[in-house]
């Protein structure tokens, strides 16, 4: 079984988000970049599913040379090889088209993405990939198992969950619960340096969206401390009018 894991390079979760250039650019100054946490979960599941020589795991990233440390980290965790499509990841549409193009000439049985990237929060790449490749996609996967040529997928729905069976190939957007992220060991870190990382040039894509600017949420006012529960209930009722 051949599995492809799409990884995006995102600011560490503790990052305080600020912007520059009149709020048009994310301030990367001093920001630590990591593998998107959901992609780490996907990678961990991909390794479990191919354990014991049952297949291979390739990671793919659309990014400039600056993302290579993140790709090497994925190799250190345990991916067999990596592809970097050499372009700024303009948006999900651009990224999905690049990856779809690659998959068309290099087919995979299972394509993992994360449920969403924690920076732009599109939740878009998985569904777009599915549509571009004309194969099923499940965007928020809670559990996934493969039996022969069929995937059993658990998906969260309003008020419960659905269990689906789908013939491969599919695109799955991994969410919490799919697997526990794996930490690279010394051997992994050593071998990551020599694992293949192929650089592929992008195809042309007509762009259809553009981030114009960013805003930070309104700062919240001072907290009003209540002396006891009765007073709190009264404040929520009479002042905040939320109960």
């Amino acid at each position: 079984m051949k599995i492809l894991v799409c990884i995006s390079n995102v600011p560490d979760t503790t990052t305080k988000i600020t912007f520059t250039a009149n709020n048009t650019q994310f301030n990367t100054n001093g920001v630590q970049f990591i593998i998107n946490p959901y992609d780490e979960i996907a990678l961990a599941r991909a390794m479990e599913l191919t354990e014991g020589g049952k297949g291979t795991v390739t990671v793919i990233n659309v990014g400039t040379v600056a993302t290579e440390p993140t790709i090497r980290k994925a190799l250190a965790i345990g991916a067999d090889d990596a592809i970097r499509i050499n372009a700024e990841p303009h948006d999900a549409w651009f990224v999905a088209n690049q990856i779809a193009q690659y998959i068309k000439t290099n087919p995979f049985d299972l394509v993992f993405t994360g449920r969403e990237s924690i920076d732009y929060n599109g939740s878009k790449v998985a569904g777009m990939l599915g549509e571009l490749l004309h194969i099923p996609s499940v965007s928020i996967v809670k559990k996934i198992d493969i039996n022969g040529q069929e995937a059993t997928v658990e998906r969260e729905i309003e008020g419960g969950k659905e269990i689906l069976t789908i013939p491969l190939p599919i695109v799955a957007g991994a969410a919490e619960g799919v697997a526990e992220p794996k930490i690279p060991n010394m051997r992994g870190i050593m071998s990551a340096r020599t694992k293949p990382l192929a650089v592929v040039e992008p195809v042309e894509v007509k762009l259809i969206e553009e981030v114009i600017s960013y805003e930070l949420p309104e700062p919240r006012g001072q907290v009003k401390l209540a002396a006891n529960a009765e007073q709190l209930a009264e404040l929520l009722h009479a002042e905040a009018r939320v109960i």
Partner: protein
Amino acid sequence: MSVLIYTENTDGKFKKSIFEAVSYARAIADANSTDLTAVSIGNVNADELALLAAYGADKILNVTSSNLKNFVNQAYASVIAEAAKKTGANVIVLANTLSGRGLAPRLGAKLEAGVVEGAVALPDQTDGKFIVKKTAFSGKAFALVELTSAIKIIALTPNSFPVTENSKPVQVEEFNVDTDPANFKTMLKEIVRSTDKVSLPDAEIIVSGGRGLKGPENWKILEDLADVLGAALACSKPVSDAGWRPHNEHVGQTGVVVSPNLYIAVGISGAIQHLAGISAAKVIVAINNDADAPIFKVADYGIVGDAFEIVPQLTAAIKQKNKA
């Protein structure tokens, strides 16, 4: 120009998030002096469909084919694309629900339409542009995104637009499309209903517990509070990691991002990753025995004290108020 809204149903009923999205789509149609068509897929009765007109749908396309009873994003995307073609829609609105999130990007790719997932305001159409505000960086910021494609798709965040009555005559049209069998590879094996009374993403009130509660056996006091408020339960990440609560209750940057009117954080310190998930909450209440806990920096109201004492007292006080 015309506006299309996909109105997802849950067991034949529309949730509040759907009426919000209809109201939102109506506002876009009005701003462009055009009409709004709703497309409903599955078994929804006439009374329920009529509600869509009450919130502003000029026309309702009702798709009842038996093979479309269960949600399959691939098949639903093709039906909605057909509806868009039929109505000449250039704006398509959905609610950003769990299913909506799987559907919108497929529809976008099919129609080569730009997609904004997680919109929080009406599009700004000044100077012929189309700019939509959405959450970004997991609730730590907003992005203003301009869509330049011919068709534009918006998935609206629940609780970010008020439900607005705007009654139109009820006009329902049966709409059935031939869908390619290749769209139906996904087979539904089973639906497992959760016992949760209120689902987290569209909850108006949320009671959330952190590590300060010490163990799963202590959730009873939060359940009681949630019961008197009609609230959904949530938790911090370490709580679900420890298996005290299910993963789908974990709120934050790597969990659910919520947008309730009231979020009550009990025994939660307020780590940046947790706060990311609640920045859209209108009112935040903190109950924590450490006055220096960072949660008090974002809370609107709070009590410094022991949760095991305060939560039952709060439940009792609210019960009193409910009676009054």
